[in-house]
Amino acid sequence: MRHRTFFWFVFPTVSAMILFIAFPIVSVLLQSVYAPHPAVLVEVETCTPLVGCTIETVMDQDATKALRNAEPLGRFVGFDIYFDRGHLAISEVKEIFINSNSLYEIFKKVSNLPFYRAMGFTLTFTFVVTPFVIILGFLIAITVNAINSKLKGLVIFFSLLPFVVTQLIGALVLFWMIDSRGILGNAVQWILSDPNLSLKASTGVMWVSLIIYGIWHAAPFAFVIFYAGLQTLPQDQIEAAKIDGASRYQQTRYIIIPHLFPLITFVALIQLMDNFRVFEPIVGFNASAHAQSLSWFIFNDLGGETRQLSSAAASSVLTIIGVSILLFPVLLRTWQDFREKT
């Protein structure tokens, strides 16, 4: 292909990518190295009902506006936000390492810092949910593939439901069920005859609930991908294997799994990415006291009465970096496969 033709061929894609991917990322990066101007505070007489007039501190709007107009981006803070306690907490971690006597103490103190605590949950969630989703999705796929074709449509429809239900709704339903007055929470209390048992009050159980929810929600996704892959299975190879006396297990191990391997890589990639950004279940389960993630930090920073845009932007950049690190081994492997083939 001539260069000119090639250029016009990829031009729409490249410009869309610059517009919709590169620009937003650059803007987030920019936002994360700037913070709001110092607040100019003044004391004025403030009158409110039932209390009367008192002297209160408020922001001086004219002075603040002058500052904002002079430098609309805010004040440049470099990587300060990335290194502060809400994120990588560099100086806090350094101090902990200097002042701690045992590894356990270091671990305990570091996991009290918001970023590392959130990482603890996010990574556990990611590395438990992803393999389970792949295994469960695969099992459902080969099961569905084996059943009578008349029933298939119905079974596929019901297997897909968890994925179709909006994440937040699915999380809320499970959350209500495990409430101490909900059907599951009550059943567990009854089985263990402990009326004070709360599934929501224990961090461990909350993590397990979130993980089960994550698997329940994403398994259909893996199922659909694998099921589609199974339809392209080379029947002659299977028949040859059968004639050679290969058992069902051997067929699966030596023909089906290698055939589906590119799809397994694909599902792993998507799942690692999705699970690292776990968010809806934390909100749906009201679990922020037990489990937090970077996405939840962003939500928390942007909500409420204090909108910390710089902090949210820094968390976003850290999420991008985190996802890149997670995906690196998988991408490296794909690249090597590609090189071997060419």
Partner: protein, 411 residues
């Protein structure tokens, strides 16, 4: 038969007399309202929507705090009015999103009482229409059964809870909006005030919660939580009230604005309907200042809108708080109105007691929201027994300092 005729007659009568009043509200530009969602605010919103001539829309939701700033930051702003309270007006003022109302009050505010005007320096920034505070609500039958007077202090509340549990009446008799986040932070604020704590070192933005009063507060919250539904860290005001209406709890510290609806919502059991009682706020640790905070709710007009829209908004909102609404018995019980002609009802006792006992107003400081947020997120660890009270409070201060530095409140 008489009944059949009676209601249409009353209805027709009311309609006949109310039309001339509503006809008084004519507006010529759009009005769009954002606000919280308890009964009194719904009444104000509905009152504003009675205006004719242009569209009046309202978005009343418990998520209002997250929506109001982005919704008023654009130019023109999506919302022309935010119904706010002592705390939620602060972010609007910090971002300079609401306009001074002096001219509009002079032109259209003849029905307002001077106590309704929220003045910051010379500017009227909001019009208040109700007062609010958290105070005791209790089940009279349960307290009678154990022979205990309604608690006046948190210590009495604890001992009453102990007796109720020991007598086997209720397993977890205490309720509280302890959901991690804003609610939990607010419960800390209440008791902290009762112990005489102050959130900031005087005259600065430096936090002051990691103090003796802070530690006492956390220990009391922990003691109270032992008598709560074990899921307490996920219960907000709505969930706590649902527990109360279902007859699962007997004692709670709850918002006055929810007092009237405790017995009128769906699914309230008869024992609650017949025995729901309210009293003033409790004190703590032998102090005389109530362990509560005093609030007002009011409305504002957005800055980034045209003068026509601002005028229409002011007229419509005035229609939502007009004095003749105070004749309606149902509306009167919904809140402690600051509107002229309001006669207190039984549901108002708690808030009036709060005012009488000189409850501390919620601090209206530009950086209070950050500290409130940090409290709500960090003290859950202590209540779950994961760390000590002083460690939790140190975490609160550290989290606050990080955010306050970013926002430019501390250098």
């Amino acid at each position: 038969m008489i009944k059949k005729l009676f209601y249409p007659a009353i209805f027709g009568f009311a309609l006949f007399f109310s039309i001339p009043v509503f006809a008084g509200c004519e507006i010529s530009a759009r009005v769009s309202i954002i606000g919280n969602e308890f009964p009194a605010i719904q009444t104000v919103g509905a009152g504003a929507q009675e205006c004719k001539g242009a569209e009046v829309t309202s978005n009343l939701t418990s998520e209002h705090k997250d929506i109001q700033v982005p919704g008023m930051k654009g130019n023109p702003a999506e919302y022309t009015s935010a119904i706010i309270s002592t705390s939620s007006i602060v972010p609007l003022m910090n971002e300079d999103l609401i306009r001074p109302l002096n001219d509009l009050v002079a032109k259209y505010g003849k029905d307002l009482q001077s106590s309704q005007l929220i003045k910051i320096g010379d500017n009227i920034m909001a019009v208040a229409f109700m007062a609010n505070s958290q105070h005791l609500m209790y089940r009279a039958d349960v307290l009678k059964e154990i022979g205990v007077e309604p608690p006046k202090t948190y210590e009495e509340m604890l001992s009453a809870a102990k007796i109720i549990r020991e007598k086997g009446i209720m397993e977890n008799p205490v309720g509280g909006a302890y959901a991690a986040g804003w609610n939990l932070g607010q419960e800390f604020n209440n008791i902290f005030m009762g112990y005489g704590g102050s959130h900031f070192k005087s005259g600065t933005a430096q936090p002051n919660v990691n103090s003796e009063a802070g530690i006492k507060t956390l220990n009391l919250m922990k003691a109270l939580s032992e008598y709560m539904n074990p899921d307490f860290l996920t219960h907000d005001s709505n969930a706590t009230n649902a527990e109360y209406r279902a007859g699962n709890i007997a004692l709670l510290n709850m918002w006055g604005s929810r007092a009237a609806s405790q017995t009128t919502a769906d699914g309230v059991i008869d024992a609650v309907k017949n025995n729901h009682s309210i009293a003033g706020p409790m004190t703590v640790g032998g102090g005389s200042i109530p362990a509560s905070t005093l609030w007002w709710d009011g409305w504002t007009v957005a800055k980034n809108i045209s003068d026509e829209e601002a005028e229409a908004t002011f007229i419509a909102m005035m229609n939502g708080i007009r004095p003749d609404m105070m004749q309606d018995q149902k509306i009167r019980t919904q809140a402690v109105w600051l509107i002229e002609g309001y006669e207190p009802t039984d549901a108002a006792i708690g808030v009036f007691e709060s005012a009488k006992m000189s409850t501390t107003p919620y601090p209206m400081l530009p950086y209070m929201g950050i500290l409130h947020g940090a409290l709500g997120n960090e003290i859950a660890d202590f209540l779950q027994g994961k760390e000590s009270a002083s460690q939790a409070l140190a975490d609160v201060e550290a989290a606050y300092m990080t955010a306050a530095k970013e926002k430019g409140f501390i250098n």
